[in-house]
Amino acid sequence: MPRDQTRTIRLILNGQKRTLRVDPADTLLEALRAASYTSVKYGCGTGDCGACTVLIDGEPTHSCQIRAVEVDGHEVFTVEGLAPFPARRLDDLHPIQSAFAETGAIQCGYCTPAQILTAKALLHRNPDPTRDEIRSALSGVLCRCTGYVKIIQAVERAAALLRDEGVCPFRHAAATLPGDQSLADLLAERNLIAGDWREPRTPLVISPPAMARLVVVGESESKVDGIKLAAGTPAFTDDVRMEGMLYGALLTSPHAHARIRSIDAREAAALEGVHAVLTHEDIPRVKYASGGQSFPQPPPYDQVCLDDKVRHVGDRVAVVAAASPRLARRALRLIEVDYEVLPHVLDAEEARGSDPPVIHDEQDTEGIYDASRNTVHRIEAAEGDRQEQWRRADHIFEREYRTSQQQHAHIEPHACITYWDEDGRLVVRTSTQVPFHIRRMLAPLLGLSEKEIRVIKPRIGGGFGNKQEMILEDLCAHLTIATGRPVRMMYTRHEEFTSSRSRHPTVQRYRVGVTNDMEVVATELDLLGDTGAYGTHGLTVNMVAGQKGLTLYNSPYSAFRCDVVYTNKPTAGAFRGYGAMQTHFGIETLMSEIASEMGWDVVEFKRRNWIKDGELLVMATALGEGREGFEQRIRSNGLAECVRVGLEATQWYEKRRKLNHASAVNATDGCIEPLRRGIGMSLMAHGSGIAGLDMAAATIRMNDDGSFVLLVGAADLGTGSDTILAQIAAEELGVAVDDILVHSSDTDFTPFDKGAYASSTTYVSGNAVRKAAIKAAARIRKHGAAMLGVELRGSRDAGERDGTRQEEVGDVPTTGLEDIELHGGSVRFPDGRRVTLEQIALSSLHQQNQHQIVASASHLSYDSPPPFGAQFVEVAVDTETGQVTVERVLMTVDAGRVINPITASGQVEGGIAQGLGFALCEEMVYDVDGRLLNPRLGPYHVYKADEMPDIDVIFVQTDEPTGPYGAKSVAELPIDGVAPAIADAIHDATGIWLREVPFTPERVWRALRART
């Protein structure tokens, strides 16, 4: 029996005297969260991420690094102290908080309280900091979503507010081209050419003249969840505590490959406070795949909840539920496992070589292509006339490119709470991107029917694909079933690295044939994808890699051959970019290499070959997602304009091959460094949802006061999708965004949505919301007409029929539904009369022809229109040490119509930041035994505020006919082009090509040395 060691500490907490009873072993983080100061977040426990930052005597400090007893007698400040609860509108917040909410500095919001406190300490010390001072001050708090651009702008804005200087509303800049101004003048006026950073630059949105302006759509609306996130309100999975809740913990494998001979859990189970220990002997063996994808999930079903075999260091072995997290971890150490260690294989080539260790030798997994060679899938597809096209080729280029294993590193780890509700149904509160898939996938594993399970998605602290996986839900639920109690599980950062998912490493062999007049006639891609220990997402990621890696230049002959193999490494899964970003690195670099070798202008070479408006995507039918796809034709394509704008803004032709003439630059510190500068570019194309598969639905319901509830299954994981869906509804219904109350998502109350992945939410869910809003609007119009006794033309309600407005025929009454405007919260009739929405709501609910104005709609698209983009990157290379510094990134984006320029540019900036990590430093590194050498955010290295280059975003709008108001996706696109643009820039600076990411200083140095 552990003796009671608790002590009482006295402190000033948020300005008030408080006493707390704490265990001396408790960190301040644990003590504060236990005392309901849940704005203070766990992110790593090692002082690397800073999510747990609090102010101690005014100084920002990692609360995970100090014991609670140490703050006895000190002042501690958390975000809860900044604004009164509840904060209901922006004015209720502290200026720093409101600046964060207004500028789009908040995406998932998990690191926001820490950023705000760090900013507060800075501004207290230095009311007028420079941009570099801000970057430096914020460099102790990681953000994985924003790329820090808007966080820095928020701090600048807050500083101005606190100095009582006036600030303008934070919004994008808009321009029409061609218009009154030339492109050059427009860019100069926005300071985009010189890259003058004294003025905070917001994104520029360029529209074609024909594009109609809308009211709410296209505006820089603040995020609908911004206020609560800025206030640090308990909104995340782990921010609630249930009565009697137990804490789960996972025992993981220390071996890369082993069979479990036996497990002795008696001692652990006997420990007081331990309520359950589950091993493979306790759980039925049901095969599944953990990837959250549509039914039926792609094979193979090569996982079980707990197995008698482990296939990577960090693989699941057993779970424990105990009265406290500490006790649960102690129990784990008491579980004795007898392992028969097996030979393992870490390298994908070796894994499919001769006589490798067989990772999936079990009899009950079906659908592995060749288990004896660890080959999960072999994919082959080709289109076009092979012989004819190769015959046309005057030059053939073959290159190999390699990409590494990247971690998502969302700051909120996977977290889940499961419990039985009062009806005996299992509730799963979880940090997921795919609530509906989770419910469907969980049921067979637990032996429950789907209707007995309810999945709730609260606020999510980032996911990037890693939460498109069932990582904890099944284990947590098994513990609730075993104990009858609520159980909470949350990964440690170490477990995130070893036991969640990651990006598929690839080896790509590209073979491209070109003619003397710059035509790409044939492209073959031979891909080796490493899926790690399990095959989840292995088929689809690699199919997408093939399809997207063969689309941008759409060769008349295109061929794809791919092996997806198992290795004894932590499992790969879905990750923003989803195969496409890997092959973009290959094909874009190769295209630049070809241009360089042939002496062609790279821009001209790419322009000749990139996919054009009206063209069919050559590989779209052969390579869908895990199955045959649907024919795809390009209907909107802003590539030419993206490139034109980018070239002008970077003054490309003045800089290309000229920057490095100043080969010895005097660095600011006076040290002569042989720096070389270069500029590079890349193009990219992605998709918008999975054609013919992704379905989303929405319901809109009117309230008594004329506001609306919008129910969506779409899972906002920090991207801002709740906001843009609300904007779409508001546009149709003629109200302000804050009259739309968005709920996402709860499998009991919100309609189905496939979830947040495949860049689908704006395009697919957005269309569903728009359809539902059109239907609801039609009902409102009709009710308004009835209230005023206006007789309507036509008998049937067009909106009711199919969710689209149609021309009505009929000649007696002169007013049609479409003549009635919904605007500014009221319904306006052609004769000038109006009825407010509140009057309509009250009338329809209580007075006349009573009924609930409510509408649902769903959407599926057989198109997946690619958004396009171009990235321009300027780098400095230290040729003696190989260090690469990216100094500026400009991205021009065709995402169709941009629903919200602030949230969309946030996606671009964040994607670029993750792309920079992928290109330059992030890599999971193993020792020979398969143990990860850098399972910490520090040594793994996620970009920080003080090392980010300047980033500019320019949207070049097009009108996608199948998108909501012309919108396409934006979420994944920006990550695709960063690595090849940097490779191109390094070549421009030094003449070397790097064909393996990340471009660490050592790799760059080796490449430089190999040349000389």
Binding site: G45, S139, R326, R329, G670, T1000
Partner: protein
């Protein structure tokens, strides 16, 4: 969540030393915790007792005593960065503090912890080595000054006994016309552990020649090291490219480089060469300016 241990909170230095003596060898001092807390969490260290020395007044000063700059071991890296005295007489240390971790870690991390942790990559060590710093090791009732070069034994191993605490660090105020600089190479700019770090001190005589020099390297051997052979080369010479080249070659030889997750041995050796050469070239430029000005 931390594993169980007893945490003692002494209020004075003598009390802390008594506690260390009382629980030795099972007790460890805990300063900012930026090394120790992750180590405890990862199970790398399992002491039964931690004696909190963070915030003890007796360890919290920076001042001048006679010909020495003296600072308490509890001084944080943020304090080092802000100290005018250190700026004037130990710029090399301040340069290390500037590129040390990030502002949050600098608020917590102490000089004593950086030394006591004895990582080969500890960033305060090469600067303090070139300043010929000494450490005060105190136990209940006793204390001694030791040269920093004699302090480190191996990776994470020092001559500091279980009952002892580093209480102070001191170095002689360098003579006028002294140049001292620090440079490190990391995988990224921000908050990254050094792949290689180099500190250089050069003192010029009346003639403009180098009368004294010190070169120290971090992260290239089990402990940070001084490169005396390189110093010999520099002493008494004018800093010419030829002299710099010879000194640099000694630095590379001394760096019995280790390969690890951050980089290979060959690359470390290369970076040692580049950084040493650059710092000495900088010293050369500086010495020319000095001479022109005199």
């Amino acid at each position: 969540m931390l594993p169980s241990f007893e945490l003692l909170m002494p209020e004075t230095l003598p009390e802390a030393l008594e506690m260390l003596a009382g629980y030795a060898p099972d007790a460890m001092p805990l300063a900012g915790g930026t090394n120790l807390v992750p180590d405890l969490r990862g199970g790398k260290r399992r002491p039964g007792v931690l004696v909190n020395v963070h915030g003890l007044d007796a360890l919290q000063y920076i001042g001048r005593q006679d010909r020495y700059v003296v600072m308490g071991a509890g001084v944080s890296l943020a304090d080092v960065l802000e100290s005018e005295l250190i700026g004037a007489h130990g710029r090399v240390l301040q340069e290390a503090a500037r590129v040390f971790a990030n502002p949050l870690i600098r608020n917590r991390a102490t000089v004593g912890g950086n030394l006591g942790n004895a990582s080969p990559a500890a960033d305060t060590v090469p600067p303090l080595l070139v300043l010929d710093a000494e450490l005060k090791l105190a136990s209940a009732g006793e204390s001694r000054w030791v040269g920093l070069e004699d302090f480190f034994v191996d990776v994470c191993d020092t001559i500091c006994r279980h009952v002892e605490l580093i209480t102070a660090v001191r170095w002689l105020v360098p003579p006028p016309r002294t140049f001292s600089r620090f440079r490190k190479l990391t995988l990224r700019k921000s908050t990254a552990i050094s792949v290689v770090s180099v500190a250089v001190r050069v003192t010029l005589g009346e003639s403009g020649r180098c009368v004294d020099a010190a070169v120290a390297l971090g992260a290239v051997a089990p402990t940070p090291i001084r490169v005396h052979e390189a110093e010999e080369v520099l002493r008494g010479e004018a800093l010419t490219p030829e002299v710099i080249d010879r000194a640099t070659r000694f630095a590379c030889t001394a760096a019995s480089c280790i390969g690890d997750v951050r980089s290979s041995a060959a690359y470390r050796e290369r970076v040692t060469d580049v950084l040493t050469r650059r710092l000495l070239a900088e010293a050369q430029e500086w010495s020319e300016e000095q001479w022109e000005r005199s």
